[in-house]
């Protein structure tokens, strides 16, 4: 991701808009930095990150925002629903993988962690706690089949994913309004990976 750091005034403005009384210690203007990054599937809203260096470990709070209205990424898909209601979400064949990567990164699934693998070999070495890897929204899988139903706007992606630590071939159905359903199709064994 390409981040653009906010200047001091914009950082303070952001803090004033997102801080809460109950968690005031997390919003220290002195020890916080803010930055933003474009997302290819939102028309105008961007991903904003506030980093507080005084907490342990260093604490980041992420939001989808247009610079004035901030939706906090709380692990649910509520912020994405707000974007859909605002007409912000535009899914195309070019950005659908980035959207799925973003969704898996920010919406916690009951089934556990999920991430699209770049290739089968990555399953043996990937670190799900590597933030840089999780935020590679543009990472394109080598093995993928993508269908886009022009009439409904829905997508069907078949590719290899890590599904709660297990490598799987999975069907990822994405509706026109960004709802995602993952159906594991085939477990991938170590023999296949090697």
């Amino acid at each position: 991701m390409i981040w653009h750091r906010l200047d001091r005034d914009k950082t303070l403005d952001m803090i004033s808009r997102v801080k809460s009384t109950g968690e005031a210690v997390l919003f220290s203007p002195v020890t916080s930095e803010a930055k933003c990054s474009r997302l290819p599937f939102f028309k105008t809203y961007m991903l904003y990150r506030l980093t507080n260096f005084s907490s342990l470990p260093v604490f980041t709070l992420d939001y989808i925002s247009n610079g004035e209205s901030f939706s906090y990424m709380d692990g649910s898909d509520s912020p994405i629903r707000h974007m859909v209601d605002a007409g912000e979400l535009t899914l195309t064949e070019e950005n659908i993988i980035a959207y799925i990567n973003f969704y898996f990164c920010y919406v916690r699934q009951p089934e556990g962690e999920m991430i699209i693998l770049k290739n089968l070999a990555e399953a043996a070495t990937i670190d799900l706690y590597d933030e840089d890897r999780r935020e590679e929204f543009d990472a394109q899988p080598e093995n993928i089949s993508l269908e886009h139903n022009i009439e409904t706007g829905n997508f069907c992606v078949v590719t290899e994913i890590l599904y709660d630590s297990s490598p799987m071939e999975a069907i990822i159905d994405v509706s026109f309004d960004g709802r995602i359903k993952v159906t594991p199709r085939k477990m991938l064994t170590l023999d296949l990976i090697q």
């Binding site: 809460s20 649910s76 699934q109 009951p110 709660d164 630590s165």
Partner: protein, 186 residues
């Protein structure tokens, strides 16, 4: 994933008044405390938190984690989608948050990334060594006392399986330090 006794459902609606407030904060805290009371180190940490007035808060966030503010307020972070909350991991994170708050009283310096000094790498290493060692202790006590390996799996997922084996065999924090130093390239 969610083995909580209660039926939380799938409460994903964001609280617009305070988006950080977890809709099931009280229930998660109660469940985490109940779990920690099952092991000696958990009981010790909860007693420390109570005796030293460590404020414990649960907030929403995309990744289960913990944070300690510079006023020793401990935050447990749980996804707003409660069905995705793993209680063992949440309880372990709560334990680590209390342990991080305990550091000042046991001579473990707090890394200050906002005002870095020359010994920041050393301080950072010692901070994380203690927290990871504590995580291994918690996981080991659940395994020994309750035959539960869920946190052992968690520790292995974090990449600390070697350290866990050493800690569970009785090695001290200083004896396992080289393992973490290799991972952190310290």
């Amino acid at each position: 994933m969610n083995d909580v006794k209660r039926e939380f459902g799938n409460l994903g609606t964001q609280n617009t008044a305070n988006p950080y407030a977890h809709p099931q904060a009280a229930a998660i805290m109660e469940e985490c405390r109940t779990m920690l009371l099952m092991i000696p180190e958990g009981r010790r940490l909860l007693a420390f938190a109570e005796n030293n007035h460590v404020a414990l808060h649960i907030i929403t966030g995309r990744e289960p984690a913990f944070r300690v503010g510079d006023d020793n307020t401990a935050f447990l972070i749980c996804p707003a989608t409660t069905a995705a909350v793993d209680l063992h991991v949440a309880a372990c994170n709560l334990a680590c948050a209390i342990r991080a708050a305990e550091h000042a009283s046991i001579g473990i310096a707090r890394p200050d990334y906002a005002n870095p000094t020359a010994d920041l790498p050393k301080i950072t290493f010692e901070h994380f060594l203690d927290i990871i060692y504590e995580t291994c202790i918690i996981a080991h006590e659940f395994e020994v006392e309750h035959k539960s390996t869920k946190l052992v799996d968690f520790v292995e997922k974090l990449g600390h399986s070697k350290m866990y084996r050493e800690v569970s065999s009785g090695k001290s924090k200083q004896e396992v330090a080289p393992l973490l130093a290799e991972i952190m390239k310290y």
